[in-house]
């Protein structure tokens, strides 16, 4: 069923200055193809045809084998006003064009860098298994696309699902160089739907990425306007007692860390976007009551983790990171930078619904509407209160005064550690259905560099079944990684050749982010993966922030308690503070692959490594 069949176009257009009221559908689509779209606000925005302020169902777009993408500067408008910072847009729109491809095809994606003042640009096809020289990471896959040049990506598509693509050069991803990529499967998916919309969540900085990076280097809490004040102290004392409150402040003060340092860049600078539209611009997707709608959520924000829900509707999660899972009914899910979640919704009522994507730190939101008619909107929920991190969540109970702030190892605590990991093996309450018990567990961490690692978590926790900070207390079901049951087949052998631990480390006060306490420039070499081995990778997060860890060139399968054939595929894993999580990896392609935190400013500050498969 086509969008245009349902809508009287002249009705939408009557307030617009650039298109005549009697435009027909063909001309309308041609105008859309040019890359600009007239919105209900009457202004011109660099918004792609498939999104605009009125979502176009993906099913209307052609499946192609070739796309030409041009990255160039464009003015960026929010609420009709031009931003100070220019966008680095692809084919004139933010987000860039929706690439609709087919599994099994040999595709040609030609990317031109028209940002004449840059060192290079690039496009990385996030989540796609491509030859290493087609992976688009300057410094690892190739030298980057120099200004004025075109790079012709050529590869065969060996998978299907919802993915995305973005620049891997400098901070271009922050200024708009990203877009959705959908690969239609050879075999039909088992679920049915009537409409298909892509929902790209992202963040736009008014300070601009260079200034933001500099601001965060000078002052760790630069963008945090939700710090704990003296008023919070008195409130807490009133609620929990003076003694407990003082003890809490002393515990955090000893570490010189803040339990409300939730996001590096917040709504104080960011405008959160849904398909390139600010909340007031209200990106809208049309439906008929009773239809099933597929929403492909893609998180393209550089520093943002969103909590997504549609008040009045439950969602059925059917695919995660491009791979099918057994359908899970939830009311809310957390989507971190670089993840994708495909959900089905069936709005039975003839009314609009708000698509609400609240940032983790509750400092802002992205918003759109599912509506039976153009121009309607539903109530937008209030932002929830700012959450506060608890030491207990990270296995650092306040009863235990062994809180390490200086990177020193306590030998008494190390003895405790062996006991704790044995407890983990038996299946502690947190790992209720540990169908694949962790045979060994992460190696203890002894950093070489005393400056880079402000804290070491002695007892990392299994937190996979927890929804995450700020979630789970509203009385509705929130998705966790423990809910994901793979429905995509398991081609890899149920054997593990070896285990390896990578520690996620940081000194947030100094804005240094690293793996194993070493920035990229300090690493002794790339990580060594053997071709076709089966590796159990342990990730341990020794920091106070969530980090979405992304591995190029191969899948990770999280050991979430499911039997081996049912563990879910992820290309990006969000690791909670104080968490230990394991994933099974089979490196199927030789070459050099990037491995990094997908929070852009952390990656550029050192949380980046290369994996060499040989």
């Amino acid at each position: 069923m086509c969008l245009a069949d349902r809508i009287n176009l002249s009705h939408i257009m009557k307030n617009k200055t650039h298109l005549s009221a009697s435009i027909n559908r063909r001309k309308f689509i041609q105008q859309l193809g040019a890359g600009v779209f007239v919105t209900s606000l009457g202004g011109l925005l660099p918004s792609p045809s498939w999104a605009g302020s009125l979502g176009q169902s993906l099913l209307d777009l052609d499946i192609r084998r070739r796309y030409d993408l041009n990255i160039a500067y464009m003015p960026f408008l929010i609420n009709g006003k031009k931003e100070r910072i220019q966008a680095t847009a692809i084919n004139g729109t933010v987000p860039g064009p929706l690439l609709r491809l087919r599994e099994g095809d040999d595709v040609q994606l030609n990317v031109t860098n028209s940002l004449m003042d840059t060192k290079h640009s690039s496009i990385h096809w996030h989540g796609l298994l491509v030859p290493p020289d087609m992976d688009g990471v300057p410094g690892v896959s190739f030298a980057g696309i120099k200004p004025g040049e075109t790079f012709n990506y050529r590869f065969k598509l060996k998978q299907s699902g919802t993915y995305w693509y973005h620049s891997h050069s400098s901070f271009q991803e922050q200024t708009g160089t990203y877009g959705p990529l959908v690969i239609e499967p050879k075999e039909k998916e088992p679920f049915k739907y009537d409409r298909d919309y892509t929902v790209v969540l992202s963040d736009w900085t008014s300070d601009g990425p260079d200034a933001a990076f500099r601001n965060m280097t000078m002052s760790d809490g630069y963008y945090n306007y939700q710090q704990r004040t003296i008023g919070d102290f008195f409130n807490d004392a009133g609620e929990r007692g003076l003694k407990k409150t003082v003890a809490d402040r002393l515990a955090w003060g000893k570490m010189r860390m803040s339990p409300v340092d939730l996001a590096g860049i917040t709504g104080a600078d960011y405008t959160y976007l849904m398909n390139g539209q600010a909340p007031d611009e209200n990106w809208t997707a049309i439906f008929n009551p009773g239809e099933t709608i597929r929403l492909r959520f893609i998180a393209a924000g550089t520093m943002s983790i969103f909590d997504v829900r549609i008040p009045g509707l439950d969602m059925q999660v059917v695919m995660v990171d491009g791979k099918a899972v057994k359908p899970v009914d939830v009311h809310e899910f957390r989507i971190s930078a670089a993840e994708t979640y495909d959900v089905l919704v069936t709005p039975n009522k003839d009314q609009p619904f708000t698509i609400f994507a609240e940032s983790l730190d509750r400092s802002g939101y992205a918003r759109g509407t599912l509506s039976p008619q153009v121009g309607l909107s539903a109530a937008v929920p209030q932002l929830r209160p700012r959450p506060v991190r608890k030491l207990d969540d990270m296995g650092m109970g306040m009863m235990d005064d062994k809180i390490f702030g200086g990177g020193k190892m306590d030998h008494a605590a190390m003895k405790n550690m062996s006991g704790d990991s044995m407890a983990g093996m038996k299946g502690s309450p947190a790992t209720t259905s540990t169908a694949i018990p962790a045979p060994v567990g992460p190696e203890p961490f002894k950093p070489e560099d005393k400056v880079n690692t402000a804290m070491i978590i002695m007892n990392p926790q299994d937190r996979i079944a927890e929804p995450g900070i700020g979630l789970g207390e509203d009385g509705w079901k929130v998705l966790t990684y423990a809910d994901l049951i793979n429905d995509s087949g398991q081609p890899y052998t149920p054997m593990v050749d070896r285990e390896m631990t990578i520690n996620i480390t940081a000194n947030m006060e100094r804005s240094i982010f690293s793996f194993d306490g070493l920035k990229y420039s300090q690493q002794p070499g790339p990580y060594n993966f053997r071709h076709n081995e089966r590796l159990r990778l342990w990730l341990v997060n020794h920091t106070m922030m969530e980090h979405p860890i992304h591995l190029h060139g191969m899948w990770m399968q999280i050991e979430n308690g499911q039997p081996h054939d049912k563990i879910p595929y992820k290309h990006t894993i969000l690791v909670k503070p104080g968490e230990k999580i394991s994933a099974l990896i089979t490196p199927i392609e030789k070459g050099d692959w990037a491995f990094h935190c997908h929070l852009l400013y952390h990656m550029d500050a050192g949380m980046f490594q290369v994996v060499s498969v040989s």
Partner: protein, 282 residues
């Protein structure tokens, strides 16, 4: 499952235990609990460990593709920690306390200046400049060394400086330095600041400055022991993180022998000032 398969499964399970002690660090050598049951059918067993231990790192990549990330950038900052008008019984003054630096993650080069200009005397009461190199030695501390040059009060003198700059537990900012003058006199200065957030933008900042001298240096009215203390309270409003006007109150006093001398000369060793200024950085 056939007998062969069962045998295979048994041997791999057995190898798995061996695999443990080889793969892990000391941890699992300790108490293995009895009856530790592993559900073999669910758990991917470990293959027998290969003869050569696999190194965590591969040789560095050899390509001329450039760097994927630039995590060693240099930053430049200018900070006006205090720039204020001071009003006290004996008169008025303008005080400045500036720092500019270039930094990487581990190394910083600072150029600093502080002093006071007396409005009544139309002259500098005190003025000093410092050039320091700092190196990160701990997560929250840098060690700094360099030179300081006092222009006023005369006669001019130079010092070698060694100190630490950082964040102490409970969020106290600390700048503590030892000075060795070109005459061989040793002195020590401690500065500490603490931020109390009244609101997100309204911040109350107590500040302490303490000076100690090892020797008597009569030409500068300095005598061995604690020579001076300053206790201040500033209330700033952060219009932006980079610009915050403030008002405050400052109580400073000479101490010890220096104080005695002032009193015997009929003066008051302590001064209370009202201050108004701006804190900024860019």
């Amino acid at each position: 499952m056939g007998a062969l398969a069962s045998l295979l499964l048994y041997s791999t399970a057995h190898a798995q235990h061996e695999g443990h002690s080889q793969m892990s660090m000391d941890m699992s050598q300790g108490d293995k609990p009895d009856g530790m049951s592993m559900d073999i059918s669910q758990s991917p067993p470990m293959r027998s460990p290969t003869e050569q231990k696999i190194s965590k790192y591969a040789p560095k990549m050899e390509n001329d593709f450039g760097e994927p990330v630039h995590d060693n950038m240099l930053f430049y900052f200018f900070s006006g920690d205090r720039l204020e008008y001071r009003s006290f019984d004996e008169g008025e003054a303008v005080l400045w306390d500036f720092r500019t630096w270039v930094m990487s993650d581990y190394n910083k080069l600072y150029l600093e200046s502080e002093g006071e200009w007396s409005i009544d005397d139309n002259a500098f009461d005190k003025a000093e400049g410092r050039l320091l190199y700092g190196h990160a030695i701990a997560p929250f501390w840098d060690v700094r060394g360099g030179v300081r040059y006092d222009f006023e009060p005369g006669p001019e003198r130079a010092y070698a400086v060694l100190g630490i700059l950082g964040l102490a537990p409970q969020w106290f900012e600390v700048d503590a330095n030892l000075y060795l003058s070109d005459e061989g006199d040793v002195s020590f200065r401690l500065e500490s600041e603490y931020d109390i957030l009244l609101t997100q933008r309204l911040i109350l900042q107590p500040r302490l400055e303490l000076e100690v001298s090892a020797q008597d240096v009569p030409e500068y009215s300095t005598y061995a022991g604690f020579t001076g203390v300053e206790i201040e309270l500033r209330l700033r409003y952060e219009i932006s993180r980079k610009f915050a006007p403030y008002i405050g109150i400052s109580w400073e006093s000479a101490l010890g022998e220096s104080a005695n001398r002032i009193e015997s000369g009929g003066g008051d060793p302590a001064t209370t000032s009202f201050v108004a200024g701006v804190k900024f950085w860019f």
